[in-house]
Symmetry: C2
Subunit: 333 residues, 2 copies
């Protein structure tokens, strides 16, 4: 038990920040980042915009930070995780759809013939996305997503997909929040696919998620309550130029800090950097085939080409995953 | 200057909430609300959902409160304020549009012939809205709105429109925020018309505003920077069933507290009340012709008919403006 004297000392410490008391050095806010230019640039930027009296000071309300999701906050190989979810959902639904045994692209998917699935092209993919993501209420869909995140396993790592998030990026988001930033996900992925788990995994509440979305229809459910039915109609694609529009629509404030990893994030980064005052643009460059994946200009998933050129020309921060990160994923649970 | 003894006492008070110390009674959080059923219902609800151990306790992250804007947070008579803005903008733009002197509905508007403007019907109104709200960048539009809120005056009160907000509702929103709620505007009005001033007037940041919106196009401005051009294409109408869809799209969490004033808010209130646990639905009933306006079932603006019936049947809280509110507006500045 603490003595009264200790309590008084502690409480003085709490309310009188000016009092000089010998204390342990502050813990490293980015323990998984190697000492290098990326880490330096992050800490330097945060220090400048949060130091009272600094010419670069930004009031807390305007400290908006946006993060792409696929490839920036979690892995996106061998396929976008939402596509893996769609495939798994088709397999689960197939029990009640015997007609799919003979109908493409479902037959190919159920036969694990991924070449044939790919051959179905965009049309086939859209059909898979529509069937796996619509025709149920938003509430039911949320449960389906949570069930998948709890039970599905990534083929290479044999871990839940929500454990394949980048530990250094988790630390970066915590560091920003501890410095008064509001962190947002701005993803090309589906908004309703992300919201059920982002709070637990990223510490980001659902209302701070921007993403692609489908239309919904308000109707009365069997028990007489209103429900929102997910329709097979795309409403908004939050990718490329859509990311600037999505930030404007959902946040209504220009970020001062943005992180992406592919050409689909270029306009978000440009939009962020076009405002006045101090600004930060970052790219995660997947350079680590051993611990994760290595890909950029020629990749079908997360192609990083134009954005890499622009980042180089404009001296944005490019994270070299292999050299900048001590670990990739959090420890297995 | 405070003595060391006082500082210690104060710090103990700050860190040891269990310590009983004689103190002044807490200030009334709702000083503009008369003692009555509406005020009681609000305080009772907030106490129940915020008291640890209460069967109705709701964790802070889920304390989402949504407020309609027109007629709920500010006056909406004799016309929606956004329409007054549109009219003023047409008049300002007319200097460079001599053709409008002979073209309806612009001619009628410039002649102050409001009957003739009304006769142009929905088509004429949409034309006025399009011309006054589009063809400029989001950034320029924000400046136009701020200029209008600073200079335009309401015809009856001769005050800036942003001063015609309801003092009791400002207190209610502050009270909720002080109790861990996150407050959102969910309005049929334009999202870009509200965002420039909501933070100053309501204490609500722009990212917590849901509203109707038009499409935008990302393009490069004259100085080489990206800008979002406002297009004459409606993207989303946040009214009626759209309010449930808008809450789902922008917030992604069901509110536990919602306030409206018209049939356009009915689905928001139903959506709020359909969730589990303790919930609150409120309506502002405009009953005060002397201090503000009195209207409900037969009004063209802010019609309150079906929602009033449902509120009565389901015992939602209906604020009787005349009897429940000591003052309507904040003191003039």
């Amino acid at each position: 038990m603490l003595s009264r004297r200790t309590i008084v000392a502690l409480s003085l410490l709490a309310v009188l920040p000016g009092v000089a008391i010998a204390q342990a050095p502050p813990a490293d806010p980015l323990p998984s980042w190697n000492d290098g230019p990326a880490r330096h640039a992050i800490i330097d930027f945060v220090t400048r915009v949060t130091t009272d009296g600094s010419p670069d000071f930004v009031p807390p309300a305007e400290r908006i930070a946006t993060f792409d999701n696929d490839g920036t906050l979690w892995t996106e190989q061998p396929v976008y995780f939402q596509l893996a979810f769609a495939f798994d959902r088709i397999k689960a639904l197939a029990r009640e759809r015997p007609d799919w045994r003979t109908k493409q692209p479902f037959k190919a998917l159920l036969d694990h013939d991924m070449h044939r699935v790919a051959a179905a092209g965009e049309k086939g993919l859209l059909e898979i996305m529509a069937v796996s993501h619509t025709g149920i209420s938003t509430e039911e869909f949320s449960k389906v997503v949570l069930d998948w995140t709890a039970n599905a396993r990534h083929p290479r790592y044999d871990r839940p997909y929500t454990e394949l998030v980048f530990q250094p990026m988790l630390e970066l988001m915590s560091f920003l929040r501890a410095n008064g930033f509001k962190t947002f996900v701005v993803s090309g992925g589906g908004i309703e696919f992300m919201r059920p788990w982002v709070e637990r995994v990223y510490g980001i509440p659902p209302e701070q998620v921007v993403g692609s979305s489908g239309a919904v229809k308000l109707q009365t459910s069997g028990n007489g309550k209103p429900e929102l039915m997910k329709l097979a109609k795309v409403e908004f694609i939050d990718d490329g130029p859509g990311k600037a529009a999505g930030i404007n629509r959902f946040i209504g404030r220009r970020p001062i800090f943005a992180f992406g990893n592919s050409d689909g994030d270029l306009q978000m980064l440009q939009w962020t950097m076009a405002g006045p005052g101090a600004r930060f643009a970052g790219l995660v460059h997947h350079t680590d085939a051993e611990r994760e994946y290595a890909y950029d200009r020629d990749s079908k998933v997360g192609k990083l080409d134009k954005a890499l050129d622009e980042a180089t020309a404009k001296r944005w921060t490019v994270v070299d995953m292999k050299h900048d990160w001590k670990v990739i994923f959090p420890p297995a649970k």
